[in-house]
Structure formats: structure tokens, C-alpha cells
Amino acid sequence: MSSHAHAAAADDSGEPKSPQYHVAHHFDSADVQFESNKLGIWLFLAQEVLFFSGLFCAFAIFKNKYFAAFVEAHHHLDWKLGSVNTLALLSSSLTMALAVRAAQRTKKTEGVVYLLLTLGFAAMFMVIKYIEYSHKFHDGLLPGKHFTAHGFVHPEANIYFGIYFMMTGVHGLHVLIGMGLILWITIRMKQGYFSSRYYAPVEGVGLYWHLVDLIWIYLFPLLYLVG
């Protein structure tokens, strides 16, 4: 059908699908280009897992060594705020996945809405993190020599807060970088760069964002819950 063929190159508003898109000459096909792109993202994510493994290793070793101090220290974290933050990140992962789905179906407006929702959940996470951090700053629960809190039975509690701030700090940095990337993708989406033909950057940022969620899925029970 000719109308069918015409629909092939245009999105629902009649705009051409990803007009800037082309398959680079060194790729055999569009599929090869897409998969190569994704492979690169996965290699980066593997590196991210190994990057965080240093912090998880420190946590495992010190927790084993000073179990009582860690149990005492972790009571200074608010598991309710931690739970709300977990729900915020899980929801942001959902909306991010739905934004990728929208891009796959060339739904520009739907995609922008989901990306903005993702940014909203991410901002909610950072605001709650800020509240938690300021509370700890106020109580002097800071790492190393800046630890000025009193009344701990176990003096090694400061090691817990050193690891807590490093792990959540580096994770929070990833959230901020992710928010920057999502903002970039939102603008590009609005400009009509993405369609079922070409959505690799949306998928790539999505994968990165889900990894940030994955890290938090482990951080939350380890830091807030397990005593």
C-alpha cells in the first residue's frame, strides 16, 4: 500500500523519522550499528560495577571486623527515608524504561513526559538525600577526623560513616550525572532526533540509569537495614 509506504518514513505528526540518522559506513547494517553501540554501553557498565566493587569490598571487610560498631552506627540512618528513596529510584527506572519504549514506538510527546517524570523522581531522590546529609552534618556524623559525634559505645562507628558517605556520595554523583544525561536526551527527544529507527542514545542512558538503580538496590539494605 502506498499510504503504508509513506507512513514508513514519518512519525505520527508527519515529521520524518530521525532525519539526521544514517548507518555509518563501517557498519554492515543498522542492527550491527545498534548492537555495537549497546555493547559499548555494557562494557562501560561492567567497569562501573567494578568501580563500585571497591566500596562494597571496604564495606564487607570493615563490617566483618567491627560488626557491633556498624550495627550501632546504622541506627543513625532513617530507614523510612531510605525506603522512600528506594521507591523513588525504582519508579524513575520504570519511567525511564517507558521513555525508551516510547522512543521505540516513535512517540515523541509520550517520551518527553516519561523523561521529565524520571527527572522528577531523580530530583526527589536527591532532595531526600540532601535532608539526610544535612541531618548527619548537624549531628557531626562525618567521616574520619571530622567525626565529632559523642556517645558512641564503639569508637569505630566513624568508619561506618566514612563508608556511608563514600558509597552514597559516589552513588549520588552518578544520579546527578544521570540527570544531566536525561536532560540532554529530553531535549533531543523534543527536537525529534529519536524514532523506532534510531533510539540508541535513549537506550544507552536508560541502561546507565538502571545501573544506578541496581547499585542502590544493594546499598539500601546493606546500609539502612541489616544490623
Binding site: 555493547l39 555494557w42 571486623k65 525504582l90 521505540q104 541489616v226
Partner: protein, 153 residues
């Protein structure tokens, strides 16, 4: 077949009329209910992990928490990150990173748990290998040097 699947199918055909390996990449679109279902399961498991942490299972606390977290992480990786439907090589990359993660933590724990245990002179060492990260002992009050004025008397 759900409307969503039909939609994905139609989109693929509208675009190409030929399958993979053609001029365009054909997205594999998952139905909406898969994403919502996964998210609901994640929320339920979050509630479970919080609820379970209020109960003391002793040494099992840690393993229960890690077990639930791993179920959640697998759901995110398989569905949100599309690993279930993806080239299996991407899954292999993630799993190999996790293998090295385990080697790193496992070997470090070996070291810390057994460091110095074969050393016949371990009790003579200045550095306490049994407690290498101990917080410094509160500094003892240094005896004030006698003031010159007092020293004269």
C-alpha cells in the same frame, strides 16, 4: 496477543517490510504490562526486605537481604535493561564483572581473616595484625613540662 504486541509488530512492518538485518533497526517493544508488572514486583520486594529486616534471623539477616536485593536486581537487569531479550553477550559482560567482583571481595576477605596467622613472630610485631584498622587509642595526657618559674623553687 496484546494490543501492544500488535502495535510493535505493525510498527516493525510499517518501517521495513523486512526483518532484522535490513536497512533499519527494528526495535523489540515489550508490552506496557510487563514494565508495570516488574515495577509492582520491585515495590513488593522492597516492602518485604524492609519488613524482614525488623525480624532478627541472626547471621541469616545479611543473606536474606542480599537474596531479596538480587531478585530485585535480576528483574531490573532482565526486563528494564532488556537482557532477557538481548544479545546474550551483554549478559555475559555483566556476569563476568560480577565474577571479578566476587573474586575481589572473596580474596580480600581471605587476606584480612588470615593475615599473619602463619607468622611465628606475630606477637612481636609493632603493628597489631589482628586489629589493623583499630581506632587510635585516646591520646594519653602528656605530662606538662615543669614551668621554668616553678623549676627554680
Amino acid at each position: 496477543m496484546t494490543p501492544n504486541k500488535l502495535e510493535a509488530h505493525a510498527d516493525a512492518h510499517a518501517d521495513h517490510g523486512h526483518g532484522h538485518g535490513g536497512a533499519d533497526h527494528v526495535p523489540h517493544v515489550l508490552p506496557m504490562k510487563t514494565y508495570i508488572g516488574v515495577w509492582l514486583t520491585l515495590v513488593v520486594f522492597t516492602a518485604i526486605t524492609v519488613w524482614v529486616s525488623r525480624i532478627d534471623f541472626g547471621a541469616a539477616n545479611f543473606f536474606i537481604a542480599i537474596f531479596v536485593a538480587t531478585i530485585k536486581a535480576s528483574l531490573v537487569a532482565l526486563f528494564f535493561m532488556h537482557l532477557l531479550y538481548d544479545q546474550k553477550f551483554n549478559l555475559l559482560i555483566l556476569l563476568s564483572a560480577l565474577v571479578f567482583f566476587a573474586i575481589f571481595i572473596g580474596f580480600t576477605k581471605f587476606d584480612v581473616d588470615h593475615r599473619g596467622s602463619g607468622d611465628p613472630n606475630r606477637n612481636l610485631r609493632v603493628f597489631n595484625v589482628d586489629d589493623p584498622f583499630a581506632a587510635p587509642k585516646p591520646a594519653e595526657k602528656k605530662a606538662e613540662p615543669p614551668k621554668p618559674a616553678e623549676a627554680h623553687h
